[in-house]
Every structure is written in C-alpha cells, then in structure tokens.
Symmetry: C2
Subunit: 177 residues, 2 copies
Amino acid sequence: MKNDETPRHAPGAMTDHAAPPRIRGLPSRLLAVNALHADHLVNDGLAAEGARKWHFAALTALTAGGPASQSDLSRRTGIYRSDMVAVVNELAERGLVERTPDPADRRRNVITVTTEGRAHLRRLDTVVDAAQDALLAPLDADDRARLTDLLTRLLDHHERTTASAAADHPAPDAADD
Amino acid sequence: MKNDETPRHAPGAMTDHAAPPRIRGLPSRLLAVNALHADHLVNDGLAAEGARKWHFAALTALTAGGPASQSDLSRRTGIYRSDMVAVVNELAERGLVERTPDPADRRRNVITVTTEGRAHLRRLDTVVDAAQDALLAPLDADDRARLTDLLTRLLDHHERTTASAAADHPAPDAADD
DNA sequence: CGAATCCGTTAGTCGCACTAACAGTATGAC
DNA sequence: GTCATACTGTTAGTGCGACTAACGGATTCG
C-alpha cells in the first residue's frame, strides 16, 4: 500500500491492455501514450538530479544559443514566458544562471549560464540521453532514425501550418497585450 | 462560468522554431510536441460534437467490448477509475449510456451504450478519423504505416516492461481478466 | 467469522499548456 | 515631441490530464 518514497507513477496496472484496436492503434493515441512514457523516463532521470525538463530545456538553449532575454528563451524553448519566470527563478536560486538587467534595453533581463550551470547541464545531458536510450530500446539504429525522421516531418508540417494560420488572421480583436 | 467560445490554443506563436537541435531532435520531445498537436486536433474535433476524448474512449470500449462495470471500463481505456465516474456521469446525463446496478454483484454498476450513444459514437468516429488524417497529412500511406508500426512496437515494449516490473514487486496476485 | 480485496466515489495534488492583464520601457508614425 | 503601438517581465488564474489517498459498502476466501 504505502510506499517508502513517492513514486509519481509507480504501480502500473493502468495501462490499457484490453483496449480495442480502434482506439489502441489510433496514431493520436499511440503518440499520447508513448509521449507519456517518454516523459516519465525523462522526468524520473532528471528528478534524480533535482531538475525538471524545463531546467534542462532552458540550460540547453542558453548553452547552445548564448545569453538571452527571458522572452527570447521562451521562444527558443517553447515555454510560455509566463512560466519562464519561475524556471529562471529556480535556476537562479541554485546559481545555475544569472539574471542581470540589460543596459541596452531596460525592459529585459539577460540570462547567462554560470559555470556550475554548465556542469549541471552536462550531468543532465547524460541522464537525458540514457532516457532516450531506454525509450528507444526496442528499436535498432535504422528504426530509430526512421522514427525520428517521421516525427520531425510531422512536427515541421504542424509548425508550418500553425505559423501560416497565425499570419492569416493576425489578431482578431487584439489590443490586449 | 462557461465560455461560449473556448479558443484553447488559438494564436500560435509559441512553437519552438529556434530550439537547438539537441532539444529539438530529442525523440522524447518529438513525441511530446506531436502528441500535443494530435491532442489539439482530436479535442477540437470532438469539442465540435460536445464531446471529449474520454467520451469517445469509453463509448468505443463499450461498443467494442460490450457492457462493463466502471472499473472494467477503466482498465480497458486507461482512464483511472477515479476519473471514470465523471465520464460516466456526463455520458449518462446525455443519455448516451445507462448505469444500472449489477444484480449479480451489488458493488458494481453495469454500463451499457444506448442507441443514441451508438449514433453519437458514429459521429465521433468520423471526426476522430478526420483528425488522424489531418495529423498524418504530410505522410503517405507507407510512411503512416511505418510510423504506426514503430510507435506500436514502442508501446508494446513499454507495456511489457511495466507489466513485468509490476509483477516483480509486492504486487500480489494480478490475474484478473 | 474475519481479513483481504474489490467497487464506486470524493477529494485533492502536481505539472503542463495557455489566457488575461498590468506596469514599465522602447519604437515608430505623425 | 508626442502619442499610439508593441514588447518585456511578472502575477494570477483556468482547464485538463495523470495520479494518490482514503472512504464505505459488497464480496470472496481462508
């Protein structure tokens, strides 16, 4: 009954073994279930390092693209800028990034990775890679490449369509933000 | 309390175009983003019929597998039995299913699809199929099959491992259906 | 009988995606 | 130079999905 720890999703028994093929084989469902599983894998790994995936995402984006403002970072990672503030707070509290006002544009903060941040990211990297490996365990290298390719094409298509859709009717009744 | 119009995710601009390949190409992330997109597609379609995906899942499971108790249904669909009660409530309110106490086992309710439920499901089916089609738009038939196959293999693997993991642990007797 | 287990149900947690609004700052049009 | 517009960081809050905990009642089993 009671577990020593708090396993976020420990006792299985809730995966659908009896689901009818109509549902089970639905691409949207396949994506959802596999994404959930992948998320567990990644989160469990990151949790062992006291991190969440957003910490990883932000640190990676910063390391790859250099210092950035929060909304820049938000665009790079896909995290909403409203949520980004908490992420930066947590990273800054742990000394993994620094938040300094931008003298050139006083609206912004410039976020910079610290040396510890970089070291931390290296640990997270191995953990995330291990999770990917666990996730893709049943597939050989060719199949992994195929899957990645297919998913990337799907993603590209979806980004193109939503981008053009946003350009179509830019702001119905804007004046809000 | 309720919005006449619910733009769940209307004006895009929050997809990651500048994400570093490290993150962008990560299978776990590809799965997550694509799953989210697929979810939008399906939910938007179902919302037009006043339904959610759980209504669809429950109705499909009932139609395919016949009348069932709520926890049975929960096992078939992957919906937790704590959440199932709301789903059945809503379906029952709309006259799509009937909840009657099981005379053989007075703990359970037997859930049965009504004729209207079946008709409703037929509409949902077309809507869901359309969503799958929109989702997979950039892929031809071969690629769709490939993707489904790969995702299915991933899912099978994950179900096997979590099942055996559950069998490992304190999980005493499992043999149900 | 009693213990263990299952059933439906209620309540509540946590994380994620997303909207709304606001104050401060910058920018462009006029 | 002013004024509308747009962007930045921030706070607050919504809705949903996954999941845990615990209950009272029904059942089954040792």
